[in-house]
Symmetry: C2
Subunit: 253 residues, 2 copies
DNA sequence: AGCTTACTCCGAACATCGTTCGGAGTAATG
DNA sequence: CATTACTCCGAACGATGTTCGGAGTAAGCT
């Protein structure tokens, strides 16, 4: 059974994310910090991407042996989780003004900017275990929808849809090659493809609309929010909110 | 300069994706096929995920030495590209009926189903070099928007927004742990978090709306398409379509 | 027929990765 | 001052993607 192991790993990561880094009582003063390890990881990832982020490089960056890293962080996956939550904590949380749409637009764009500034995040494989900063972000994002008349499930659905959209598009844009390389790709594809078999693509490309190139973030965001606005307007017009069964898992403790 | 190398790699992958697998003229009959390598890769990925997909395992699966794989496929990245395009080719392409919304819903759901059936695809890191099947899919997807009054750029924007949304949400759902593990996670988080500091999250959770759990694909899809419908209605009402500069890159050949 | 040539296959090796082990060194605690 | 609980890390393990060089094979040419 891998289930037990996986759950234990989850617990270890969660403890790491939430528990305060208790200082050692005995032994020599640590030469480095968990915080420093995370910072070094963030630097390396920003500079050379996730693939280049190896435990050895981090150790070298901190002028320390490889094994030393493991006294401050249980493993690579856990380090990535810490890096992610740290990054989320560095950005300003969503603010709730009176205008829900402006609120959501603002945090969606901030979200977008985060992914643009740190494309390696879009490559993260982790199970997205929530750290304190991510959960705080979530709370604030939900709060931006207060007073819209949406029920709880709809609020969560809006936040996760918009966030999912942002991440999806960020990932696609992060995968786009730099212009020079993109042009070479397009030319190569053009030499292979038989455009007679792809009439719509040809017509669209004639107008300069090249699939796979360009940034349609704002376009889709506006469509998505138009749709949300329509739902909110419908609720305001008097249609009954749906109700659903309740089970407050987060209240367990 | 890595640029040259990268572009050469792009070209190699594109040639691989588009060029017919020319049979050898001399030497012993190949014991295995490129097609078999791709099929073995798909099987392995489906069964155990991307992380378990190693060249050695594929070789073992085909009862062949590791190095043999490299005579049929240039490397792992190229194999993944082939696997992806093969998968795309296996699904039915978007169909264009008279109702654009039903068309888009249908291909968006098919897209979604593909990611649900092959979650490893959401982990792909590749630069998304287009193969013949992906480009055919793209052409058909664009065709589903014909007659809506949208201009070329808007059509591309709609397809990429919806596709980006689907991928984003599929990735999030693919990252969700199985229920048993999710429950353990939620309980652990509950034991750490101070819900007094996250009032909106608490309120929402009381109604049973747990962030990070559940499937909001249909919800967001409907919002997004409502927004697109609003745009189309606006165009139909007589507002001028925007125009943009033209540069038909795909027509270069 | 025999030689050349162009292929397939693959054992062995290389560099790199995440991670573990065991011990040497260090400083607070009793 | 001995014990104890730490930090650090050299060395190693197993696994990964990939390359090299050679052995074997069969088609094409003279």
């Amino acid at each position: 059974m891998t289930t037990t192991t996986d759950s234990e790993r989850d617990l270890r990561i969660l403890r790491l994310l939430w528990a305060p880094p208790d200082p050692p009582r005995k032994g020599p003063r640590p030469r480095i910090d968990r915080e420093q390890v995370v910072a070094a990881g963030l630097e390396l990832a920003a500079a050379e991407g996730l693939a280049a982020l190896s435990m050895r490089r981090i150790a070298a960056h901190l002028s320390v042996g490889v094994a030393t890293i493991y006294t401050h962080v249980p493993g690579r996956e856990e380090l990535l989780a810490l890096m992610f939550d740290t990054l989320v904590g560095g950005a300003p949380p969503p603010a709730a003004t009176g205008d829900w749409r402006q609120n959501v637009e603002t945090w969606a764009r901030a979200d977008w900017e985060l992914y643009r500034a740190a494309p390696w995040v879009t490559r993260l494989t982790s199970s997205a275990l929530p750290g304190p900063n991510l959960l705080a972000w979530y709370d604030a994002a939900l709060a931006t929808l207060a007073g819209t008349g949406l029920d709880s499930h709809e609020m969560v659905a809006v936040v996760e849809s918009v966030d999912g959209y942002v991440r999806g598009l960020a990932r696609e844009v992060a995968a786009q090659p730099p212009p020079e390389r993109a042009a070479a790709q397009a030319e190569a594809v053009a030499s292979f493809v038989d455009l007679d078999r792809l009439p719509t693509l040809r017509a669209v490309a004639r107008d300069g609309a090249i699939p796979g190139i360009g940034d349609h973030f704002e376009f889709g965001l506006q469509r998505l929010l138009d749709g949300v606005a329509a739902l909110i307007a419908e609720r305001a017009a008097g249609n009954l909110p749906r109700t659903r069964p309740s089970s407050a898992i987060y209240d367990a403790g």
